[in-house]
Symmetry: D2
Subunit: 193 residues, 4 copies
């Protein structure tokens, strides 16, 4: 199964980039998982504008985003919380992607992770981020991973300072991959009703 | 597969009882679905009170609720919207059920339906209702069924006045059952990691 | 100005009772604030049931709840988080109160506090709790007070173990009381349009 | 009092532009209201990027957005719903604005309107949009205005086809302006505690 993973942050030294790299490390040990680790800058696009869409269609960054989602069996996203919610740039990428006839999020599984320097570790943002994905038909995994105190949570090598966080993330990713496998079978099988 | 279905309304002539009966009719035509259509009054319980729990445990209505959830492969709920949100009595049933060691909602699939006399058809309430179920680990199906103008939506026999609503609900239930089947396979299989 | 304050927990040794008592202490030092500190058990009522309402009206606990809200200029509530959301019993009290012609929450100011033993201190529950109050027209103060690690947060006397939490709550209550005063003026004044 | 009003849509023929113009007409009849009707394109800015902020600061469109908010006593926004939520471009504008030391949304009153071609009239999007504004300390008016079936809701002159919608919006704006007046008094007064 193919997993598209990325951090929804443009910042080079983003804590969410560190977190998605930790997730990527864990994914490597799953024998049937093929990782597509994307850089968020590959999906850069202008703000959604209906007139721009009418004249020029979905921009290149949006088309690349759609292509990568469609090629994946599941998505893992690590996202910062901005002002208690989803980053505008991530919502904007969703808004463009939703304009495609392929309906790229429909039936796609998604695991949400997030970290922030604060004590709530982006937990509010993760719940705000679920909503548009679910509105588009994505299967957002119920459990999410919120990591508080990002500044202290990673060591100089960018790995988890506390091995318990690694264990917690590994257990969550294992469960999520089971879920992806189960629903992949669903999509490929032919279930008469 | 066994599906527990009920309307989260005590009222005898509740529009949500009519809606769950329509869902039950549709379920009967799925050859592999066994329906457990419950009456909400079977799950009556007092308001959650930690001291009461300490002295007397989970009340009979709560134990019955847990037993029926655990016996099911999936749940279909039709719920009114009260003040833009989940009915207090439904949240209270969840609160009691969550106290059981069996963690009854964990990994349980759930389809949410709702109807109300207003023009928004309980759509706000459905989104508010998702949250506690997801917080307990339930797989809440992304698409939900919100039926506005409940007073006009059913005929004297309690069936949909507009056949398009029946078709829309049937298509949704079919998709949901596929999802239940896929995830049942997941639970019974042994996926080495 | 009159402030109704209570903890939305029946448990005798509830951490949210400790928290509301701390809020009550702070309120005493505001010269123009008259405190009505209620016990949640005064508002005990059965689960909302439209048929029961038709036959017997709003139950005594609900009528008392409405009477106390209507007598207040503002409300301060300390609420546990149950399963990522509002306690069912609190939502049930809202559901009954909303049935009264007086529309008791309309234009009423509300400050939400919450504590829980976990590391997120009920922050998810507080956001879930805002929604029905706002749907009924209450002015829910934007800032809320979420106190994590409830077990360690109070000393044996039931006061804040860390004085910073007291300072933080005092600053918030001061700001909230300004807001109540401003909106009380609005209700009593005659603003021609 | 000064009211900043705009539609959160770039599209020239946006239904939300029509809706904000209707709100602007209503505002003109309030003798103490001075209207600043902005075009969303004045606030165009790139996606938030922490590295860009470090090197170049808040972009011109963001600084203009902040300047106009700070000059206003209240905001009225008409916003489309994209995928069940806030438009990414609006959230992005909030994300940039929140980076300013002036904390421009803190204590600012806000009325949310929205229209969409669908039958739910952006009601889900409005509730998703409240959250980040409230997280930044804005006083978001509890009642919101959701207008379904946008295609049929406006006549060729761009006015409400049904006068009941105008009456409904006028009553809401009147109530909102009372709220702004009350809270302006609060900010200018000196309330000893």
């Amino acid at each position: 199964m193919k997993i598209l993973a990325f951090a929804a942050s443009m910042r080079k030294n983003s804590y969410n980039r560190m977190l998605i790299k930790q997730a990527a490390e864990i994914l490597k040990s799953a024998p049937d998982a093929v990782l597509d680790l994307a850089d968020y800058r590959e999906f850069e696009m202008p703000n959604y504008d209906g007139d721009l869409e009418d004249s020029a269609g979905i921009p290149p960054g949006g088309r690349e985003f759609i292509r990568r989602i469609l090629a994946a069996d599941g998505l893992i996203l690590s996202t910062p919380e901005y002002n208690g919610g989803i980053p505008g740039s991530l919502k904007n990428a969703i808004d463009w992607a939703s304009r495609d006839d392929s309906d790229p999020f429909q039936g796609k599984t998604l695991l949400l992770l997030g970290t922030s320097p604060g004590r709530f570790g982006s937990v509010r943002g993760l719940w705000h981020t679920r909503i548009p994905f679910e509105a588009m038909g994505a299967y957002v995994y119920p459990e999410m991973f919120a990591l508080p105190n990002a500044r202290q949570a990673f060591n100089d090598a960018g790995a988890f300072a506390d091995p318990k966080n690694r264990d917690r993330l590994e257990a969550l990713i294992r469960s999520y991959l089971q879920y992806v496998r189960a629903l992949m079978g669903d999509r490929s099988a032919n279930h008469p009703y």
